[in-house]
Symmetry: C2
DNA sequence: CGAAAATTTGACATGACTCAACTGGAGTGG
DNA sequence: CCACTCCAGTTGAGTCATGTCAAATTTTCG
Protein backbone atom coordinates (compact mmCIF):
# COMPACT_ATOMS: atom_id res chain seq x y z
CA UNK A 1 0.00 0.00 0.00
CA UNK A 2 1.13 3.49 -0.79
CA UNK A 3 2.22 4.87 2.59
CA UNK A 4 0.84 8.33 1.80
CA UNK A 5 -2.61 6.78 2.13
CA UNK A 6 -2.03 5.77 5.72
CA UNK A 7 -3.90 8.74 7.23
CA UNK A 8 -6.99 7.70 5.32
CA UNK A 9 -6.75 4.16 6.60
CA UNK A 10 -6.48 5.44 10.15
CA UNK A 11 -9.39 7.76 9.53
CA UNK A 12 -11.58 4.85 8.46
CA UNK A 13 -10.41 2.68 11.30
CA UNK A 14 -11.39 5.27 13.86
CA UNK A 15 -15.00 4.70 12.79
CA UNK A 16 -15.29 1.20 11.31
CA UNK A 17 -12.77 -1.64 11.43
CA UNK A 18 -11.27 -2.20 7.97
CA UNK A 19 -8.74 -4.92 7.17
CA UNK A 20 -6.06 -4.65 4.50
CA UNK A 21 -8.11 -6.35 1.81
CA UNK A 22 -11.14 -4.19 2.49
CA UNK A 23 -9.02 -1.07 2.46
CA UNK A 24 -7.63 -1.96 -0.96
CA UNK A 25 -11.17 -2.45 -2.15
CA UNK A 26 -12.34 0.91 -0.78
CA UNK A 27 -9.34 2.83 -2.06
CA UNK A 28 -9.91 1.54 -5.59
CA UNK A 29 -13.05 3.71 -5.73
CA UNK A 30 -11.10 6.87 -4.96
CA UNK A 31 -8.71 8.96 -7.01
CA UNK A 32 -5.95 11.28 -5.87
CA UNK A 33 -6.04 14.95 -6.73
CA UNK A 34 -3.50 17.67 -5.99
CA UNK A 35 -4.58 21.27 -5.91
CA UNK A 36 -2.54 24.42 -5.46
CA UNK A 37 -3.11 27.29 -3.10
CA UNK A 38 -5.69 29.84 -4.30
CA UNK A 39 -7.32 27.44 -6.73
CA UNK A 40 -11.03 26.76 -6.54
CA UNK A 41 -12.43 23.34 -5.80
CA UNK A 42 -15.98 24.66 -6.37
CA UNK A 43 -17.34 27.93 -7.68
CA UNK A 44 -20.94 29.11 -7.36
CA UNK A 45 -23.17 27.63 -10.08
CA UNK A 46 -20.95 24.58 -10.50
CA UNK A 47 -22.17 21.16 -9.38
CA UNK A 48 -20.13 19.45 -6.68
CA UNK A 49 -19.13 16.13 -8.20
CA UNK A 50 -16.95 14.68 -5.45
CA UNK A 51 -16.68 14.07 -1.77
CA UNK A 52 -13.03 14.68 -0.94
CA UNK A 53 -11.01 13.38 1.98
CA UNK A 54 -8.16 15.78 2.75
CA UNK A 55 -4.74 14.12 3.04
CA UNK A 56 -3.12 17.53 3.45
CA UNK A 57 -4.06 21.15 2.97
CA UNK A 58 -6.54 23.76 4.12
CA UNK A 59 -9.72 25.07 2.52
CA UNK A 60 -12.25 27.81 2.98
CA UNK A 61 -15.89 27.06 2.21
CA UNK A 62 -17.90 30.24 1.95
CA UNK A 63 -21.04 31.86 0.55
CA UNK A 64 -21.27 35.19 -1.21
CA UNK A 65 -24.15 37.55 -0.35
CA UNK A 66 -25.87 40.07 -2.66
CA UNK A 67 -23.48 42.79 -1.53
CA UNK A 68 -20.47 40.74 -2.55
CA UNK A 69 -19.38 39.92 0.98
CA UNK A 70 -17.96 36.50 1.69
CA UNK A 71 -19.11 34.50 4.72
CA UNK A 72 -17.09 31.50 5.76
CA UNK A 73 -18.90 28.36 6.91
CA UNK A 74 -15.81 26.37 7.94
CA UNK A 75 -12.20 25.59 7.24
CA UNK A 76 -11.88 21.95 6.15
CA UNK A 77 -8.37 20.64 6.73
CA UNK A 78 -6.28 17.48 6.87
CA UNK A 79 -8.00 14.32 8.10
CA UNK A 80 -11.46 15.68 7.36
CA UNK A 81 -13.76 15.97 4.35
CA UNK A 82 -14.60 18.80 2.02
CA UNK A 83 -17.52 19.17 -0.39
CA UNK A 84 -20.74 21.08 -0.83
CA UNK A 85 -22.77 18.17 0.37
CA UNK A 86 -26.06 19.78 -0.62
CA UNK A 87 -24.97 20.12 -4.22
CA UNK A 88 -23.33 16.67 -4.14
CA UNK A 89 -26.49 15.02 -2.85
CA UNK A 90 -29.07 16.84 -4.94
CA UNK A 91 -27.08 17.45 -8.11
CA UNK A 92 -28.14 21.11 -7.98
CA UNK A 93 -25.75 23.96 -8.66
CA UNK A 94 -23.71 24.94 -5.67
CA UNK A 95 -24.16 28.35 -4.13
CA UNK A 96 -20.85 28.30 -2.37
CA UNK A 97 -17.20 28.65 -3.22
CA UNK A 98 -14.49 26.38 -1.91
CA UNK A 99 -10.99 27.73 -2.24
CA UNK A 100 -7.60 26.31 -1.29
CA UNK A 101 -5.75 28.29 1.37
CA UNK A 102 -2.75 25.92 1.33
CA UNK A 103 -1.56 23.40 -1.28
CA UNK A 104 -3.65 20.29 -0.82
CA UNK A 105 -3.87 16.61 -1.68
CA UNK A 106 -7.29 14.98 -1.83
CA UNK A 107 -8.83 11.55 -2.15
CA UNK A 108 -11.94 12.01 -4.24
CA UNK A 109 -14.95 9.81 -4.84
CA UNK A 110 -17.69 10.58 -7.35
CA UNK A 111 -21.36 9.99 -6.65
CA UNK A 112 -21.74 6.94 -8.92
CA UNK A 113 -18.64 5.40 -7.38
CA UNK A 114 -19.85 6.13 -3.88
CA UNK A 115 -23.18 4.51 -4.59
CA UNK A 116 -21.43 1.49 -6.03
CA UNK A 117 -19.23 1.33 -2.95
CA UNK A 118 -22.28 1.34 -0.67
CA UNK A 119 -23.45 -1.77 -2.55
CA UNK A 120 -20.18 -3.69 -2.62
CA UNK A 121 -19.11 -2.71 0.90
CA UNK A 122 -22.15 -1.99 3.09
CA UNK A 123 -20.01 -1.03 6.07
CA UNK A 124 -19.35 2.18 4.23
CA UNK A 125 -23.00 3.07 4.63
CA UNK A 126 -22.39 3.07 8.34
CA UNK A 127 -19.21 5.03 7.94
CA UNK A 128 -20.98 7.85 6.14
CA UNK A 129 -23.90 7.75 8.52
CA UNK A 130 -21.55 8.36 11.42
CA UNK A 131 -19.68 11.04 9.49
CA UNK A 132 -22.95 12.83 8.80
CA UNK A 133 -23.95 12.61 12.43
CA UNK A 134 -20.75 14.36 13.44
CA UNK A 135 -21.18 16.99 10.76
CA UNK A 136 -24.72 17.65 11.98
CA UNK A 137 -23.52 18.10 15.54
CA UNK A 138 -20.83 20.54 14.42
CA UNK A 139 -23.32 22.55 12.40
CA UNK A 140 -25.82 22.66 15.23
CA UNK A 141 -23.09 23.90 17.55
CA UNK A 142 -22.30 26.62 15.06
CA UNK A 143 -25.91 27.81 14.92
CA UNK A 144 -26.03 27.79 18.71
CA UNK A 145 -22.77 29.69 19.13
CA UNK A 146 -23.92 32.42 16.79
CA UNK A 147 -27.11 32.81 18.81
CA UNK A 148 -25.62 32.72 22.24
CA UNK A 149 -22.34 34.63 21.99
CA UNK A 150 -21.26 38.01 20.69
CA UNK A 151 -18.37 38.36 18.27
CA UNK A 152 -15.74 38.60 20.98
CA UNK A 153 -16.81 35.38 22.71
CA UNK A 154 -17.15 33.62 19.38
CA UNK A 155 -13.55 34.51 18.67
CA UNK A 156 -12.41 33.08 22.01
CA UNK A 157 -14.35 29.90 21.33
CA UNK A 158 -12.82 29.66 17.89
CA UNK A 159 -9.31 29.98 19.27
CA UNK A 160 -9.77 27.32 21.90
CA UNK A 161 -11.54 24.98 19.48
CA UNK A 162 -9.09 25.31 16.59
CA UNK A 163 -5.78 26.50 18.07
CA UNK A 164 -3.84 25.03 15.16
CA UNK A 165 -5.79 27.04 12.60
CA UNK A 166 -5.29 30.42 14.13
CA UNK A 167 -1.86 31.12 12.67
CA UNK A 168 -2.72 29.65 9.28
CA UNK A 169 -5.51 32.17 8.62
CA UNK A 170 -5.52 35.89 7.95
CA UNK A 171 -7.57 38.19 10.17
CA UNK A 172 -9.78 39.02 7.24
CA UNK A 173 -10.67 35.39 6.82
CA UNK A 174 -11.25 34.77 10.50
CA UNK A 175 -13.54 37.82 10.53
CA UNK A 176 -15.58 36.31 7.70
CA UNK A 177 -15.97 33.14 9.78
CA UNK A 178 -17.07 35.04 12.86
CA UNK A 179 -19.55 37.12 10.87
CA UNK A 180 -17.99 40.55 11.42
CA UNK A 181 -16.16 43.03 9.20
CA UNK A 182 -12.35 43.03 9.08
CA UNK A 183 -12.39 46.57 10.51
CA UNK A 184 -14.44 45.56 13.50
CA UNK A 185 -12.37 42.46 14.03
CA UNK A 186 -9.25 44.60 14.12
CA UNK A 187 -10.66 46.86 16.84
CA UNK A 188 -11.87 43.86 18.77
CA UNK A 189 -8.47 42.15 18.81
CA UNK A 190 -6.65 45.33 19.76
CA UNK A 191 -8.99 45.89 22.69
CA UNK A 192 -8.13 42.52 24.19
CA UNK A 193 -4.43 43.01 24.80
CA UNK B 1 -51.42 -2.89 11.11
CA UNK B 2 -52.60 -0.04 13.26
CA UNK B 3 -53.75 2.59 10.75
CA UNK B 4 -52.45 5.42 12.92
CA UNK B 5 -48.95 4.22 12.00
CA UNK B 6 -49.54 4.77 8.31
CA UNK B 7 -47.72 8.13 8.18
CA UNK B 8 -44.60 6.44 9.51
CA UNK B 9 -44.79 3.75 6.87
CA UNK B 10 -45.09 6.39 4.17
CA UNK B 11 -42.23 8.28 5.73
CA UNK B 12 -39.98 5.24 5.50
CA UNK B 13 -41.13 4.42 1.99
CA UNK B 14 -40.21 7.85 0.76
CA UNK B 15 -36.59 6.95 1.52
CA UNK B 16 -36.22 3.18 1.39
CA UNK B 17 -38.68 0.58 0.09
CA UNK B 18 -40.16 -1.39 3.00
CA UNK B 19 -42.61 -4.23 2.57
CA UNK B 20 -45.30 -5.14 5.10
CA UNK B 21 -43.22 -7.76 6.85
CA UNK B 22 -40.22 -5.46 7.16
CA UNK B 23 -42.40 -2.67 8.46
CA UNK B 24 -43.77 -4.93 11.19
CA UNK B 25 -40.21 -5.80 12.11
CA UNK B 26 -39.12 -2.16 12.27
CA UNK B 27 -42.14 -1.00 14.20
CA UNK B 28 -41.55 -3.62 16.88
CA UNK B 29 -38.46 -1.64 17.95
CA UNK B 30 -40.48 1.52 18.54
CA UNK B 31 -42.89 2.50 21.26
CA UNK B 32 -45.70 5.04 21.19
CA UNK B 33 -45.69 8.03 23.50
CA UNK B 34 -48.28 10.76 23.95
CA UNK B 35 -47.28 14.10 25.37
CA UNK B 36 -49.41 17.11 26.27
CA UNK B 37 -48.89 20.73 25.32
CA UNK B 38 -46.37 22.60 27.49
CA UNK B 39 -44.67 19.43 28.71
CA UNK B 40 -40.93 18.97 28.25
CA UNK B 41 -39.46 16.19 26.16
CA UNK B 42 -35.95 17.22 27.24
CA UNK B 43 -34.62 19.66 29.79
CA UNK B 44 -31.04 20.94 30.00
CA UNK B 45 -28.76 18.49 31.86
CA UNK B 46 -30.93 15.50 30.97
CA UNK B 47 -29.66 12.90 28.54
CA UNK B 48 -31.67 12.42 25.37
CA UNK B 49 -32.59 8.74 25.38
CA UNK B 50 -34.76 8.51 22.25
CA UNK B 51 -35.03 9.48 18.66
CA UNK B 52 -38.70 10.32 18.14
CA UNK B 53 -40.70 10.31 14.94
CA UNK B 54 -43.60 12.77 15.22
CA UNK B 55 -46.99 11.30 14.26
CA UNK B 56 -48.69 14.53 15.30
CA UNK B 57 -47.83 17.65 17.24
CA UNK B 58 -45.41 20.55 17.29
CA UNK B 59 -42.24 21.13 19.32
CA UNK B 60 -39.78 23.89 20.05
CA UNK B 61 -36.11 22.95 20.43
CA UNK B 62 -34.15 25.77 21.99
CA UNK B 63 -31.05 26.73 23.95
CA UNK B 64 -30.86 29.04 26.93
CA UNK B 65 -28.05 31.61 27.13
CA UNK B 66 -26.35 32.96 30.29
CA UNK B 67 -28.81 35.86 30.38
CA UNK B 68 -31.76 33.50 30.44
CA UNK B 69 -32.83 34.18 26.90
CA UNK B 70 -34.20 31.33 24.82
CA UNK B 71 -33.03 30.81 21.22
CA UNK B 72 -35.00 28.47 19.02
CA UNK B 73 -33.15 26.12 16.70
CA UNK B 74 -36.17 24.67 14.92
CA UNK B 75 -39.79 23.61 15.24
CA UNK B 76 -40.04 19.85 14.72
CA UNK B 77 -43.52 18.82 13.63
CA UNK B 78 -45.54 15.97 12.18
CA UNK B 79 -43.75 13.65 9.74
CA UNK B 80 -40.32 14.64 10.99
CA UNK B 81 -38.01 13.70 13.87
CA UNK B 82 -37.23 15.31 17.17
CA UNK B 83 -34.31 14.73 19.52
CA UNK B 84 -31.12 16.33 20.72
CA UNK B 85 -29.03 14.20 18.43
CA UNK B 86 -25.78 15.34 20.00
CA UNK B 87 -26.86 14.12 23.42
CA UNK B 88 -28.42 11.00 21.92
CA UNK B 89 -25.25 10.09 20.07
CA UNK B 90 -22.69 10.92 22.74
CA UNK B 91 -24.67 10.15 25.87
CA UNK B 92 -23.67 13.54 27.28
CA UNK B 93 -26.11 15.80 29.05
CA UNK B 94 -28.21 17.88 26.75
CA UNK B 95 -27.83 21.65 26.76
CA UNK B 96 -31.16 22.27 25.14
CA UNK B 97 -34.80 22.16 26.04
CA UNK B 98 -37.48 20.60 23.89
CA UNK B 99 -41.02 21.62 24.76
CA UNK B 100 -44.38 20.65 23.29
CA UNK B 101 -46.27 23.53 21.68
CA UNK B 102 -49.23 21.30 20.72
CA UNK B 103 -50.36 17.89 22.03
CA UNK B 104 -48.21 15.31 20.33
CA UNK B 105 -47.92 11.58 19.58
CA UNK B 106 -44.45 10.10 19.05
CA UNK B 107 -42.83 6.89 17.93
CA UNK B 108 -39.72 6.49 20.04
CA UNK B 109 -36.68 4.31 19.68
CA UNK B 110 -33.93 4.02 22.27
CA UNK B 111 -30.26 3.85 21.42
CA UNK B 112 -29.81 0.13 22.22
CA UNK B 113 -32.88 -0.71 20.15
CA UNK B 114 -31.71 1.45 17.28
CA UNK B 115 -28.34 -0.26 17.28
CA UNK B 116 -30.04 -3.65 17.33
CA UNK B 117 -32.24 -2.55 14.45
CA UNK B 118 -29.20 -1.56 12.38
CA UNK B 119 -27.97 -5.13 12.81
CA UNK B 120 -31.21 -6.97 12.06
CA UNK B 121 -32.28 -4.65 9.25
CA UNK B 122 -29.28 -3.03 7.55
CA UNK B 123 -31.45 -0.97 5.23
CA UNK B 124 -32.14 1.19 8.26
CA UNK B 125 -28.52 2.22 8.27
CA UNK B 126 -29.13 3.76 4.88
CA UNK B 127 -32.36 5.32 6.07
CA UNK B 128 -30.63 7.17 8.88
CA UNK B 129 -27.71 8.10 6.67
CA UNK B 130 -30.10 9.84 4.28
CA UNK B 131 -32.00 11.42 7.15
CA UNK B 132 -28.76 12.83 8.53
CA UNK B 133 -27.78 14.16 5.14
CA UNK B 134 -31.02 16.10 4.95
CA UNK B 135 -30.63 17.39 8.48
CA UNK B 136 -27.12 18.56 7.66
CA UNK B 137 -28.33 20.41 4.60
CA UNK B 138 -31.07 22.12 6.61
CA UNK B 139 -28.61 23.17 9.29
CA UNK B 140 -26.12 24.48 6.78
CA UNK B 141 -28.90 26.52 5.17
CA UNK B 142 -29.73 27.95 8.56
CA UNK B 143 -26.14 29.04 9.20
CA UNK B 144 -26.04 30.58 5.74
CA UNK B 145 -29.34 32.42 6.13
CA UNK B 146 -28.23 33.96 9.39
CA UNK B 147 -25.06 35.19 7.73
CA UNK B 148 -26.55 36.51 4.55
CA UNK B 149 -29.87 38.07 5.58
CA UNK B 150 -30.96 40.59 8.17
CA UNK B 151 -33.86 39.87 10.51
CA UNK B 152 -36.49 41.18 8.12
CA UNK B 153 -35.40 39.01 5.22
CA UNK B 154 -35.03 36.00 7.51
CA UNK B 155 -38.65 36.47 8.51
CA UNK B 156 -39.77 36.55 4.88
CA UNK B 157 -37.78 33.39 4.19
CA UNK B 158 -39.30 31.73 7.21
CA UNK B 159 -42.81 32.54 6.06
CA UNK B 160 -42.31 31.21 2.58
CA UNK B 161 -40.50 28.10 3.81
CA UNK B 162 -42.95 27.16 6.58
CA UNK B 163 -46.28 28.80 5.71
CA UNK B 164 -48.18 26.23 7.75
CA UNK B 165 -46.26 27.04 10.94
CA UNK B 166 -46.83 30.75 10.92
CA UNK B 167 -50.27 30.70 12.52
CA UNK B 168 -49.35 27.98 15.00
CA UNK B 169 -46.63 30.06 16.66
CA UNK B 170 -46.70 33.20 18.80
CA UNK B 171 -44.69 36.23 17.74
CA UNK B 172 -42.50 35.81 20.76
CA UNK B 173 -41.52 32.34 19.66
CA UNK B 174 -40.94 33.31 16.05
CA UNK B 175 -38.70 36.13 17.29
CA UNK B 176 -36.63 33.63 19.26
CA UNK B 177 -36.18 31.60 16.06
CA UNK B 178 -35.13 34.63 14.04
CA UNK B 179 -32.69 35.71 16.74
CA UNK B 180 -34.30 39.03 17.66
CA UNK B 181 -36.16 40.33 20.70
CA UNK B 182 -39.97 40.26 20.76
CA UNK B 183 -39.98 44.05 20.93
CA UNK B 184 -37.90 44.41 17.82
CA UNK B 185 -39.93 41.78 16.03
CA UNK B 186 -43.08 43.74 16.80
CA UNK B 187 -41.70 46.93 15.27
CA UNK B 188 -40.43 45.03 12.28
CA UNK B 189 -43.81 43.44 11.50
CA UNK B 190 -45.66 46.71 11.93
CA UNK B 191 -43.34 48.47 9.51
CA UNK B 192 -44.11 46.00 6.75
CA UNK B 193 -47.87 46.72 6.33
C1' DC C 1 11.76 47.25 -5.75
C1' DG C 2 6.90 48.03 -6.60
C1' DA C 3 2.03 46.75 -6.69
C1' DA C 4 -1.60 44.66 -4.46
C1' DA C 5 -3.61 43.11 -0.46
C1' DA C 6 -4.14 43.16 4.55
C1' DT C 7 -4.50 45.80 8.54
C1' DT C 8 -5.32 49.88 11.27
C1' DT C 9 -7.58 54.07 12.57
C1' DG C 10 -11.20 57.38 13.22
C1' DA C 11 -15.66 59.71 12.34
C1' DC C 12 -20.08 58.67 11.71
C1' DA C 13 -24.38 55.72 10.85
C1' DT C 14 -27.70 52.09 11.94
C1' DG C 15 -29.79 47.68 13.22
C1' DA C 16 -31.06 45.71 17.04
C1' DC C 17 -31.33 45.64 22.26
C1' DT C 18 -32.89 47.43 26.96
C1' DC C 19 -36.01 49.03 30.01
C1' DA C 20 -40.19 50.64 31.46
C1' DA C 21 -44.84 51.68 30.83
C1' DC C 22 -49.10 50.54 28.79
C1' DT C 23 -52.86 47.67 26.42
C1' DG C 24 -55.45 43.81 25.73
C1' DG C 25 -56.72 39.24 25.52
C1' DA C 26 -56.83 34.22 27.78
C1' DG C 27 -57.29 31.48 31.52
C1' DT C 28 -58.64 30.72 36.41
C1' DG C 29 -61.10 30.65 40.68
C1' DG C 30 -64.77 32.20 43.29
C1' DC D 1 -70.20 35.46 34.91
C1' DC D 2 -67.29 38.68 37.01
C1' DA D 3 -62.75 39.94 38.94
C1' DC D 4 -58.20 38.99 38.84
C1' DT D 5 -53.93 37.71 37.20
C1' DC D 6 -50.71 36.69 33.81
C1' DC D 7 -48.69 36.75 29.49
C1' DA D 8 -48.24 38.43 24.80
C1' DG D 9 -47.86 42.30 22.28
C1' DT D 10 -47.02 47.39 21.58
C1' DT D 11 -44.73 51.79 21.99
C1' DG D 12 -41.08 55.04 22.80
C1' DA D 13 -36.65 56.88 24.56
C1' DG D 14 -32.08 55.98 25.10
C1' DT D 15 -27.99 52.87 24.28
C1' DC D 16 -24.68 49.56 22.42
C1' DA D 17 -22.65 46.42 19.19
C1' DT D 18 -21.33 46.40 14.91
C1' DG D 19 -21.22 48.36 10.12
C1' DT D 20 -19.69 51.97 6.57
C1' DC D 21 -16.56 54.69 4.36
C1' DA D 22 -12.29 56.69 3.54
C1' DA D 23 -7.60 57.45 4.41
C1' DA D 24 -3.11 56.04 6.26
C1' DT D 25 0.16 52.31 7.14
C1' DT D 26 2.10 47.86 6.97
C1' DT D 27 2.80 43.42 5.02
C1' DT D 28 3.07 40.16 1.30
C1' DC D 29 4.83 38.52 -2.71
C1' DG D 30 5.81 38.51 -7.59
Amino acid sequence: MNPSLLPFKHHLNKVIPVNEEEFEHVISYFSVKSIKKKEYLILPSQVCKYESYILSGLFQTAVLDELGRLHTLYFPHEDWWVSDFKSFKTGQESSMEIVTLEDAVLLQISKPKLEALYETFPKFERFFRLLNENAGIALQDRVTQNFVHNAEKRYQEFRTKYPSLQNRLSQKIIASYLGVTPEYFSQMSKKKE
